[in-house]
Symmetry: none
Subunit: 228 residues, 4 copies
């Protein structure tokens, strides 16, 4: 999926420590951050991230202005990936229901990236990334509804919430059963497709998903830069 464009060695000529390319450092830091946050939670030490990336603290701060920004970036990576999955499936023609496949592939990616998930809880996510995802999901939901694959009144926000729930399940019990999400997705899909009278309760407005509040970055914790 998303090509790791920045991963190739860019090399240098001097005999000293090969001038590492900025883009490569960025990748190293993101990978290290994913690991460290997965192990210790978002409270993990930012120096530990730098150390794990084999870089200095200063370098980390050159790439990401704050710990906040680093975490956000991790979340963006995940969300962007899911948006791309959605767009790819929308293009594809075939007999299977793209929405179903989308959920499966997303969960698969989430499970693979399990280490990068803690930040996913963070909200508000950078708006752009979320908007892309929402747009992609909307299209899939629309076409699923039109093909009669899911109930008439299924809403995009219902799918978004399912994604969140799957993410929760993967993060929570993935270590113990990496495939636990499959059963829950199966059940949830039954919920999406089961026939019956319209749902009694209205869906969440999409805009409301922006204010998701899981604590972290809302109830500001952490040092504030020292004024000089």
């Amino acid at each position: 999926m998303r090509p790791d464009t920045a991963l190739g060695e860019v090399g240098g000529s001097a005999g000293r420590p090969l001038r590492r390319d900025a883009a490569e450092n960025r990748e190293r830091l993101l990978r290290a951050a994913a690991d460290v946050f997965a192990e210790h939670g978002l409270d993990a030490n930012v120096n530990e991230v730098a150390r794990r990336a084999g870089l200095g603290t200063g370098t980390l701060y050159r790439r990401f202005p704050t710990k906040e920004a680093l975490i956000d970036e991790l979340a963006v990576v995940v969300v962007t990936e899911m948006a791309e999955i959605g767009r790819a499936l929308a293009r594809r023609k075939g007999p299977e229901v793209p929405l179903h496949e989308f959920l499966r592939q997303c969960a698969e990616r989430l499970a693979a990236r399990r280490s990068a998930l803690p930040p996913f809880w963070r909200a508000p996510l950078p708006a752009d990334a979320l908007t892309e995802l929402r747009r992609a999901v909307s299209g899939l939901v629309e076409s699923a509804r039109q093909s009669g694959a899911v109930r008439e009144d299924l809403h995009t926000s219902d799918v978004m919430i399912l994604l969140w729930s799957l993410q929760l399940i993967i993060q929570a019990v993935g270590a113990v059963d990496p495939d636990a999400w499959r059963r829950q997705l199966e059940i949830a899909w039954h919920g999406f497709t089961a026939p019956g009278p319209p749902l009694a309760h209205p869906p969440l407005e999409l805009g409301q998903l922006d204010v998701i509040n899981i604590h972290r970055g809302s109830g500001r914790s952490g040092r504030r830069p020292r004024p000089r």
Copy 2:
């Protein structure tokens, strides 16, 4: 719905120190903790909790030996409440499906306690409380299966996971739409009841729910009590 014995108002008109009974202080602290953690997340300052309760830090630490213990207690309150709801419904005879009513009432309680939820994420919860809840849910699932209200292969762990998901939804978007969970529960219930072939994927073992890992309170900071 069940009087708010655990965290509810404990009398007193206004005056000022109305006779600070130890038990009352405990309640004040739990209420304050619920509020503060809801506002700032579990990283919230413990002194803030004491201040909000109108008590000294030392008093808080007299009741709860550790920040950890305070948080756990908050979670236990919620879990215990749900177990009680389950036991009450199991006793009740009537036409409605107790499991469905159980989920509704639980969600209702969770929504009412929205401010007390952050700690609910914590795991492992003290084992006793969880065991009670699991036992209650098991009974409800069993009878629902036997009455044919839900699919044959619905498992207790599926319901537990749904509870977690509802909790997530309430915590995440409850501020913006306190009733958002109703729709999601409706959909999920359809998933539980929809007819069809057996689920392709096996359920989670109940014991595995114990190792849930959400990273909060693992990346602990601050003093640890001096070992004696």
Copy 3:
């Protein structure tokens, strides 16, 4: 006597931050700690040490992971110095009794370092340092015995205990009479050299000196580092 390499002045004229080398900071911290502990005892505030060194608390904790470690290091410096004095005298050829000279020089050093002594009480000292000292003393005692300078049954532990006593005297009354130890050493030396029947009571085993217990730093307070 021996240049003050360990804690002594480390150059720099006046200006201000003269190039804060890590090693220099370490010395500054040790010197500050010696002073502060001498003034306020081992219960002294660790922040005060940092402040006295003109450094931030964090810097102190970068060099010494724990207050404990800082104190230990101070003790090690003193003990190591005494071991070196012993080794130097063992090499030296001459008419005087090296053991006597050793005691004199040690006391002289202790008196000069009076401000650094509180931690010396701490036990158990890091084993290596103590072992070195014990080995050096053993040699001196042995040769003193063979030359007939001291009684046949003088034991290394007797000398170690005398060192402790001298340290006590210096710490206790040094402020009021910096030379008080001279008289006590003189008396004690008479005790070591006086002829007569063998001592009626057996010496302490050397290993038993390891378990010395003076209670300081056992009644620990404050944060413990987070376990990794």
Copy 4:
């Protein structure tokens, strides 16, 4: 020795908890304090002392206005005991050297009271108690000198310092060898009695022993009462 005058039950008539006599409480507290301080050092918690005495904190504070006072009292008990030993021996007629016997009995008492020793380090000791001890020791030294049992120039302060050293030894290694002091006293006594030219260094003035500085109660630590 010192009769435990206050130990008898004083009894009460009411059916409720026998009104414990104030004097008895005092004794209980002192005994508990000795134990606790011996176990944890002078930094030990004052509540622990009360608990060990089976009394409330308030009761402790009714008997001793501050922790400081409690500690001082413990030291006074020991010093007073030694003064009494001295006076008793001064009265006794016999062939043995009373000073030698005094040191032996003192050490014996110190070893027996090992648990009460930590406070003995404290200085300044309450003046009255020390004065008594000093007076008693002076008499013994004087008569020992006149009988020719010890060197001409032995000074009272030399004996006082020996007492301190013995105390140190007992406290430090008593747990491992309760009789270690016997050998050290033997050696020291040889130092007191060995013939030879006068000591080259002058004795400490007795008054100077008052300013002994072992840290604790000089470099004021601990809470200061909150001004109201």
